[in-house]
């Protein structure tokens, strides 16, 4: 009798596990990457990343007295190319407001397709990047941040808590026709101690090439 009950329990458990496995494969939302939520602490702030200058920095070292701007970027994405000419202005605004800035390239699967370290050095030179442009080796930081695309920005306050996440602005095609400069507003409001609204936006971007 005990053996019969045991077999019944095993059979029922197997059925539940089986149903769970099948249904999990058909969930309507299949995106497993969850980004940091507003208010979350910056993760892995002591991890050293190598910049195109040859120096190694941690996020904590890049942060200034009012906070830190982390931008996931790359060499190969047309959306990055469309927004990239606005990077210097964003950097100048960040520094003026005592916010450190770093760009990270997480495209591990494209290191031989234009996103390698030498490609990054070349790009930083051509575009005269004044901020560190660093390798996010094996997309460790992108994974920790829950980043999905390039470009994608994360702005942290002086306590390294996330206050803005998402788009640079609302118009990648034309800097002149931007109506909502989300990131610039967030930087100014952060420095002024004002509320950041919206604190989260979406933007078209190239999926991060994590590879297998």
């Amino acid at each position: 009798m005990k053996a019969y009950r045991f077999l019944m329990v095993v059979a029922v458990l197997t059925l539940f596990v089986g149903i769970g496995w099948v249904s999990s494969g058909l969930n309507a939302n299949e995106d497993p990457i969850e980004p940091l939520v507003i208010g979350a602490k910056a993760p892995m702030v002591d991890l050293k990343v190598r910049s195109v200058s040859g120096d190694e920095f941690s996020l904590q070292q890049i942060a200034e007295s009012n906070g830190l701007l982390v931008m996931f970027s790359c060499n190969t994405c047309p959306y990055v190319k469309a927004w990239e000419d606005r990077y210097p202005e964003i950097y100048n605004l960040s520094i003026k407001n005592d916010i450190g800035m770093i760009a990270l390239n997480p495209n591990e699967a494209y290191r031989n397709k234009g996103d390698g370290f030498s490609d990054m050095k070349k790009r930083a030179g051509e575009k005269k990047y004044k901020f560190p442009y660093a390798l996010d080796r094996h997309h460790k930081l992108a994974d920790a941040f829950g980043a999905t695309r390039t470009p994608e920005v994360f702005l942290f306050n002086k306590n390294m808590k996330l206050v803005y996440h998402g788009a640079i602005d609302d118009n990648y095609e034309s800097a002149e026709n931007v109506q909502k400069p989300y990131l610039k507003n967030a930087i100014k409001n952060l420095a002024a101690g004002k509320k950041i609204d919206p604190s989260s936006t979406k933007s078209l971007g190239c999926s991060i090439k994590r590879g297998e």
Binding site: T148, E152, A167, K202, L204, K209
Partner: protein
């Protein structure tokens, strides 16, 4: 000298015809047979397109771009599904190419055997991103599969295997 000329002549003749065609300005624009129609749509117009299949076909919406490697890898899968289920499924391709690349979309699709009507994202970007799906951050590619009753049976950003597409299409066709 004649010997050199002959070698050059042979080399020129050996270049495959397709490569020559790709390098010749205007070749693609003159051959318009089976070039898919690409229609500009804002968010509301895209919704109308999807709604028009309610009760008739399941819809597989795929947001892609010509320069997006993972998106281009998926095109053969999407074409195969469209050919396998012509009466039950409609693959709706929505290009998110930059406006400067808009004219590349139709010939690009033709080269890959897509011969049905496709779409180009126009109108307000933020509205598109915010309304199309809560789960979509804006990363390409993005896929959403809707059954004949209008229920979303699957959606994801990033690339997928043929098996994953087929599994969700079959789920949509069950309804």
């Amino acid at each position: 000298m004649i010997y050199l000329y002959n070698i050059l002549l042979v080399l020129v003749l050996l270049v495959p015809g397709r490569q020559v065609a790709e390098c010749s300005p205007g070749t693609q624009s003159t051959d318009t047979s089976n070039v898919p129609e690409v229609v500009d749509v804002d968010y509301e117009e895209l919704q109308s397109v999807i709604e028009s299949y309610r009760g008739k076909k399941a819809v597989l919406l795929n947001v892609w771009a010509t320069w997006c490697g993972p998106c281009v890898e998926e095109l053969p899968y999407l074409r195969k599904l469209q050919e396998e289920y012509p009466d039950k499924l409609q693959v709706v391709l929505l290009s998110a190419d930059l406006r400067s690349d808009r004219s590349r979309v139709a010939p690009f699709l033709k080269e890959r055997g897509v011969d049905w009507k496709t779409y180009y994202k126009a109108g307000d970007n933020q509205r598109f991103l915010n309304q199309l799906s809560k789960q979509w951050s804006g990363a390409l590619p993005f896929t959403k599969i809707i059954d004949r009753k209008g229920k979303v049976v699957g959606q994801w950003q990033g690339s997928a295997s043929f098996d994953k597409f087929e599994k969700h299409v079959n789920k949509a066709l069950e309804e």
